[in-house]
């Protein structure tokens, strides 16, 4: 059995699965139950400054997008930071940390963009014994209207400034949580690093309206006939999150910076993918909100099995392994040639590949009178659309053409050498091939 113990910026937890700062980590009751269920750590739901807590709406706070069979694919929320008293939260954090010394507890914070506000709260957090803090620069609704959350996260200079304050008034690790509601995520990440952050975590939720009620003409979730954008999360956002993670992992200004991956992690595989792209651990919310805390058991057993099969002994063995293989389009090998291949034994003759290819792609699939579908190699550009629309896994595969074979589409011999766009004759800016 492999050991999933993971140390992230000096914080050790029995596994790399942390609950993200969100409703599931709002109070002692939840966090204790989460730890009992097996979660490695939690990021406590965001605390605000001392004083009367924020007030949440009393109508619906969530909207959803469903897949087939009403599977929850995307969730959007308009809940704010904790609406419980600061000191209640701090006392609870201290108690839970004392009882679970082997688990990670990170305190998420969001106070006004003033040095005094941070200077006031940080010693209180330090006193709880929590392992670190996470700066909530990502919340896209409500708090951002008040100059906090994503409003800070969208201004790299503010990120750097606040991070610096935190490093000054707090002795333990500081994680900066980034908003995806920005054009280039590398800028705020670099600012966090410049400010002295120990790590970044991303993504926070994405501005979204999940649906519109066509009777009341109100966006959902609708509060007394009005709606507002919320923060989108869940499996649907994973591809966006992974792209942003990879950008930070491979950018020169931020390469090597520890990353806590967030965004639609639902299974062990999602976690492994984020980690392969450079995340030292992952944070989970929607999966727990959909299936309960027990979901972590599958993540633990699945990651263990996969690591066993691959011969990895520690999570650090594979973190970042996919980063060197993440590149710019211009460096992709244009001499790599593949063709779609349909396994006739697996084919159920639905014809979706044909419709997709014939109507919207390269007319590279033939259909016989008795509904046999086959690839026309002379037309196939290996776009993969047929694979993506086929309902049967592995029925259609992309097969690499061997070096020396002739591509019937171009009549060219498949070249053994790597050659990309930077050297291609059609590229006006091409440099001569070596």
């Amino acid at each position: 059995m492999v050991d999933l113990t993971t140390t992230f910026i000096g914080i050790t937890s029995p596994n790399p699965f942390w609950l993200a700062s969100a409703p599931p980590t709002d109070k002692e009751y939840n966090v204790r139950r989460a730890f009992e269920a097996g979660w490695g750590g939690v990021v406590w739901k965001t605390l605000g400054s001392e004083g009367p807590p924020v007030v949440n709406v009393n109508g619906p706070r969530y909207g959803a997008i469903y897949g087939a069979d009403r599977r929850l694919l995307g969730l959007n929320n308009i809940e704010l930071i904790t609406d419980r008293d600061l000191f209640t939260n701090l006392e609870e954090i201290k108690r839970v940390k004392a009882d679970y010394p082997d688990r990670a507890i990170i305190v998420s914070l969001m106070v006004p963009c003033e040095e005094e506000a941070w200077k006031a709260i940080l010693p209180l957090v330090e006193d709880t014994g929590a392992d670190g803090i996470e700066l909530n620069f990502g919340c896209p609704h409500g708090m951002s209207e008040r100059g906090m959350g994503a409003a800070v996260g969208q201004v790299p200079e503010y990120i750097e400034m606040v991070t610096r304050w935190c490093k000054r008034y707090y002795s333990k690790p500081v994680i900066v949580k980034l908003t995806p509601n920005i054009t280039d995520v590398r800028k705020p990440a670099a600012a966090a690093r410049a400010g002295g952050a120990d790590a970044v975590s991303l993504i926070n939720t994405i501005n979204s309206i999940t649906s519109v009620n066509l009777d009341s003409m109100s966006p959902e979730p609708s509060i007394d006939g009005k709606g507002t954008h919320g923060g989108y999360c869940g499996p649907a956002v994973k591809p966006i999150a992974m792209s942003m993670v990879s950008e930070i992992a491979r950018a020169e200004a931020t390469a090597g910076m520890p990353i806590s991956g967030i965004g639609g992690v639902t299974t062990w595989r999602d976690a492994a993918e984020f980690m392969a792209l450079g995340c030292g651990n992952v944070q989970v919310c929607t999966a727990a909100m959909t299936y309960g805390f027990k979901i972590v058991q599958e993540m633990i057993s699945g990651l263990s099995q996969w690591m066993d099969e691959k011969g990895y002994e520690n999570t650090t063995d594979f973190v970042g392994m996919a980063v060197p293989n993440t590149t710019d389009w211009q460096y992709l090998n244009l001499n790599y040639i593949a063709k779609a291949k349909i396994d006739q034994d697996l084919c159920i003759s639905c014809g979706r590949c044909f419709a997709a290819c014939e109507d919207t792609s390269h007319q590279a699939i033939a259909m016989s009178e008795d509904r046999v579908f086959s690839v026309i190699d002379a037309e196939c550009v290996a776009c993969n659309l047929c694979v993506n629309v086929c309902p049967v896994e592995n029925c259609i595969t992309m097969e690499q053409m061997p070096v020396g074979a002739v591509d019937p589409r171009t009549d060219r011999v498949v070249d053994k050498d790597y050659a990309n766009w930077t050297t291609h004759p059609n590229n006006p800016s091409a440099t001569a091939a070596e």
């Binding site: 299974t267 062990w268 058991q297 057993s301 699945g302 896994e393």
Partner: protein
């Protein structure tokens, strides 16, 4: 219709080799990878799931199905086998329609449960095909435990004890281990020598010595076991078969269904299995159904299952009743046998219709029969056993008997449904209790 089906009397070779093969193929073809994913996808991962509560061995069904869904079926198998070391056989023979699948929220809501049994088989078969035994035996405790009976209860008990580091000696009266898994289940539920393979796989844990052909009371005494071992677990089956209590019960052609089923399971050549043209099976449990269905599949022209009470009282599940009907077995209920006719071998059995309280109605029916199978229950045999309750061994929740140092479980113990899965649970739980006792409460 093959002419051989019309031949009167108990005959071999009624069908062609191809027909035998087709008739005795796997009742449910195993799920392929895609089917398993589609089936697993339907599970809602319910909280405090009803299926898990319904499982006598408390398998974490939502977890193992999610593990299949996320492509880690070996982890799924381990989840299953941690609770039920005979999860492979239970996946084949459990009446899931009255256990996990009956309470599946999708059965309740849509009448279409998640295919829990078949998914369990997918996971456990996958792991076993790799020859992987996912458990490791603890350091030896030097404690010795005798387990009597290598059926589901005994095997589950032996495995758990061995895993906990105890040295187990397993005694079994038959030639092969497995108990009813090997001798007492319809052939189409356990094809390809699965029961024997599962026993071999289970024994990979180590620390278990198997002695076949040793029966309690004849080759070894309970007193001997008590003196030779630190603890004894009794997990033998029910050796006696109830008679019809009629004159002529011993006529040629009248035999016990359990013997027919056992013989069929051990047959190398189905065509050499003799079967009557007009077969009557008397009883209403799983043994009766297994005998009736297999009689039909062997080529009997007419097979009638007769049960003395109503359909609702039959021990065989509705699913099993429907399976029998779909194979062409006629089911007659509320009829008790009252006479056996025939000069020499049996020719007819006469039944009297009764009401639900078994009160005779005076109405009778005679069924042509050149072969009759008795399937009206079995009884525990043996002397000097711990105290009985009813006609079985009295046990506590954890299988402890009236005699210190002796535990019991499975068919020989009182209580619980007489199911493979129940026997596994009883064997496992007794092992945990034995361990606690042997180790002075340290488990």
């Amino acid at each position: 219709m093959p002419a051989d089906m019309l031949a009167q009397g108990i005959q071999t070779g009624r069908l062609s080799a191809e027909q035998y093969d087709a008739n005795f193929a796997d009742l449910h073809a195993p799920l392929d990878d895609h089917e398993a994913l589609v089936a697993a996808d339907r599970c809602y991962f319910c909280h405090d799931a009803p299926c898990m509560t319904a499982c006598p061995t408390d398998i974490d069904i939502p977890l193992f199905i999610r593990q299949i869904a996320t492509g880690t079926s070996d982890a799924a198998a381990k989840t299953i086998l941690t609770q039920n070391i005979l999860g492979g056989m239970c996946a084949r023979v459990c009446p899931t329609e009255t256990l996990c699948e009956e309470v599946c929220v999708r059965e309740v809501a849509e009448g279409k449960p998640v295919l829990i049994g078949q998914l369990q088989r997918y996971a456990t078969d996958g792991l076993m095909a790799k020859g992987v035994h996912p458990f490791v035996r603890a350091e030896t405790t030097d404690k010795r435990v005798a387990v009597v009976g290598a059926g589901p209860a005994g095997l589950a008990c032996a495995h758990r004890l061995a895993m906990l580091g105890h040295d187990v000696t397993l005694y079994d009266a038959r030639a092969k281990a497995g108990g009813l898994n090997e001798y007492g289940i319809a052939a189409y539920k356990s094809t390809d020598e699965f029961a024997a393979k599962e026993v071999d796989w289970l024994l990979q844990i180590g620390g278990i010595v198997v002695n076949q052909g040793v029966a309690l009371g004849s080759n070894v005494s309970l007193a001997q076991l008590q003196s030779d071992f630190d603890a004894v677990f009794l997990g033998m089956g029910l050796g006696g078969v109830n008679g019809l209590g009629l004159d002529g019960d011993d006529k040629d052609g009248i035999t016990d269904a359990v013997d027919f089923i056992a013989e069929l399971r051990q047959a190398n050549e189905l065509g050499a299995m003799p079967i009557g043209r007009d077969v009557v099976v008397i009883g209403g449990g799983m043994t009766a159904v297994d005998a009736a269905v297999q009689a039909k599949l062997l080529g009997a022209l007419n097979v009638t299952l007769v049960y003395r009470r109503s359909r609702a009282r039959m021990n065989a599940s509705v699913y099993e009743q429907d399976l029998a009907a779909s194979k062409g077995v006629r089911i007659i209920t509320n009829a008790s046998p009252n006479a056996v006719h025939g000069n020499g071998p049996v020719r007819e059995v006469e039944f009297e219709y009764t009401d639900d309280d078994l009160k005779p109605t005076g109405q009778t029916v005679r069924l042509m029969a050149d072969q009759v199978f008795r399937a009206i229950g079995q009884t525990l045999q043996g002397e000097g056993l711990p105290d009985l309750e009813g006609r079985k061994i009295k046990v506590s929740d954890t299988g402890a008997t009236s005699v210190k140092g002796i535990w019991a479980g499975g068919d020989c113990a009182f209580g619980g449904d007489d199911l493979t899965v129940t026997a596994v649970a009883e064997g496992r739980d007794a092992a945990i209790d034995i361990n606690a006792n042997l180790m002075g409460g340290v488990t």
